[in-house]
């Protein structure tokens, strides 16, 4: 099935089987491997991308359902000037250890901050609650997302 997959503002015409997952198509057809497959079961959030600005687990979302819609992956956060402020905040706070959960964390946090630019710690916890991290213990990730809020 031929669809137009719009990723990070670029349209990719792809011809795929309708049962392909969005994460698989992003990684294997388009070559954007920033999106990770962790559990492949909608539990861990490593595959989180934004669909029209809202977070979605791309491992369990059919790629054909995104035809003509806007997909944002972690590769879409940085621009020509460098890392997005949130990415820099993650580095500064030490919110990255092995790094496997980081793309998903960044996407959930991006969605949260675009809806709620000054979240409380509790709101950050809820916003990131679909993302598992086995290294950091979460504290520094939450700190990073909080420090990227414009008021602080």
């Amino acid at each position: 099935m031929k669809i137009n997959l719009n990723v990070n503002g670029v349209t990719f015409p792809v011809d795929i089987e309708p049962d392909r997952s969005l994460s698989g198509v992003l990684r294997n057809e388009i070559g954007l491997t920033g999106t990770k497959e962790g559990c492949d079961d909608c539990e861990c959030g490593a595959c989180m991308v934004l669909l029209d600005g809202h977070p979605v687990n791309s491992c369990s979302y059919l790629a054909v359902q995104t035809d003509g819609r806007q997909v944002t992956t972690v590769e879409g956060l940085a621009d020509a000037d460098g890392l997005a402020p949130l990415q820099q905040a993650m580095l500064d706070a030490g919110g990255v250890q092995c790094g496997f959960c980081t793309p998903g964390m960044l996407m959930s946090a991006t969605a949260l901050l675009s809806e709620n630019p000054e979240p409380t710690v509790e709101e950050i916890r809820i916003g990131l609650s679909g993302n598992l991290c086995r290294c950091t213990g979460y504290a520094k990730i939450i700190e990073a997302v909080g420090s990227d809020a414009p008021s602080t």
Partner: protein, 316 residues
């Protein structure tokens, strides 16, 4: 596999008449297929772009009925002012589903038609006396949610019929609702047990009427019978009576998450807490959605206030 994005509701219904199955967020369908539970259907019709299925009427019509389109997401329900005002129990349920991502793509229609006995929107809808509107090329019909669920994953709806909306009667004055669940963690959790209550209070603060429905203690969401027993009782006493009835009437299974004995006991506790929260809301108190977080019911942080004491000081 065939996949079509429906352009109109009629288009979707025609495809369903020829055997296609509907998909919106896919949070049950696709995840189930990936887990090997059931393969994806041979033909899918995507209904998530149909604007006609995506609106909420918060009771502005003549009959004051609240109508929620089948493709309205849990995130939208959980944050919708009219739903929070009129049927906060449903907002409690929707805001507990999955994670932010699940709540953004998961829909109320998908949740009820998936017919899991552990669904979080089922008990509040049953307690509110909701009905589901289904449509096919043969026409449309309304059926009470009490008549919808036949067993785990089974409904009384034909395979060519599509759930298009949920209808909720407008609650009267001094009437409100709440849903609470027992959970071992706060996110990506499935109710161990749960209970939804809708309560109307008399002027003296006693219960004028109550309906209570239970999650994950039977093959389907069930309504507690015999609630005329609580009419005229003050909330604390009514909650204790409901707890007893709920435990007596539940028929839970034992599985990885809980034994049948534990479920039978805890569903009474959840039912009494749902009744108490609904009574407090009916009396005008604001309890933020979801009750599980604002009252620390279920898994909470150490130090959270746990609502295990009734207004008259009796520990549940």
């Amino acid at each position: 596999m065939q996949f079509v994005i429906a352009e109109t509701l009629e288009h979707a219904l025609e495809l369903m008449a020829s055997g296609s199955r509907p998909i919106a967020g896919g949070t049950d369908l696709v995840v189930g297929a990936r887990q090997g539970k059931e393969p994806l259907p041979d033909a899918l019709v995507a209904i998530d772009r149909l604007g006609v299925l995506a609106s909420i009427d918060g009771g502005t019509g003549e009959d004051g009925e609240i109508v929620i389109g089948a493709c309205v997401s849990h995130a939208t329900i959980a944050g919708h002012g009219d739903i929070i005002d009129l049927v906060p129990g449903l907002a409690d349920g929707s805001s507990l589903v999955g994670s932010p991502a699940t709540r953004h793509v998961g829909t109320i229609g998908g949740n009820i038609m998936n017919a899991s006995p552990a669904m979080d929107t089922g008990a509040p809808l049953l307690a509110a006396g909701a009905a589901v509107e289904v449509a096919s090329t043969r026409g449309s019909r309304l059926l009470a949610v009490a008549d919808l669920w036949l067993g785990p994953g089974q409904t009384s709806v034909d395979s060519d019929e599509l759930c298009v909306a949920v209808h909720i009667p407008r609650p009267g004055p001094r009437t409100s609702s709440a849903y609470v669940r027992l959970e071992y963690r706060r996110t990506m959790e499935i109710a161990v047990v749960g209970a939804g209550a809708q309560v109307s209070l008399s002027d003296d603060g006693s219960v004028a009427s109550a309906s209570v429905a239970l999650t994950a203690v039977a093959p389907v969401i069930i309504a507690v019978q015999g609630l005329s027993e609580v009419v005229g009782l003050q909330p604390g006493e009514a909650a204790r009576t409901v707890a007893r009835l709920a435990s007596e009437q539940s028929r839970p299974i034992s599985d990885l998450r809980a034994s049948d004995r534990y479920r039978r006991h805890t569903v009474g506790v959840m039912a009494s807490r749902a009744v108490l929260a609904a009574c407090r809301r009916a009396a005008g108190e604001e309890i933020a959605v979801p009750v599980n977080r604002s009252e620390g019911i279920g898994a909470g942080y150490p130090g959270d206030a746990v609502a295990n004491t009734t207004a008259d000081g009796v520990e549940l």
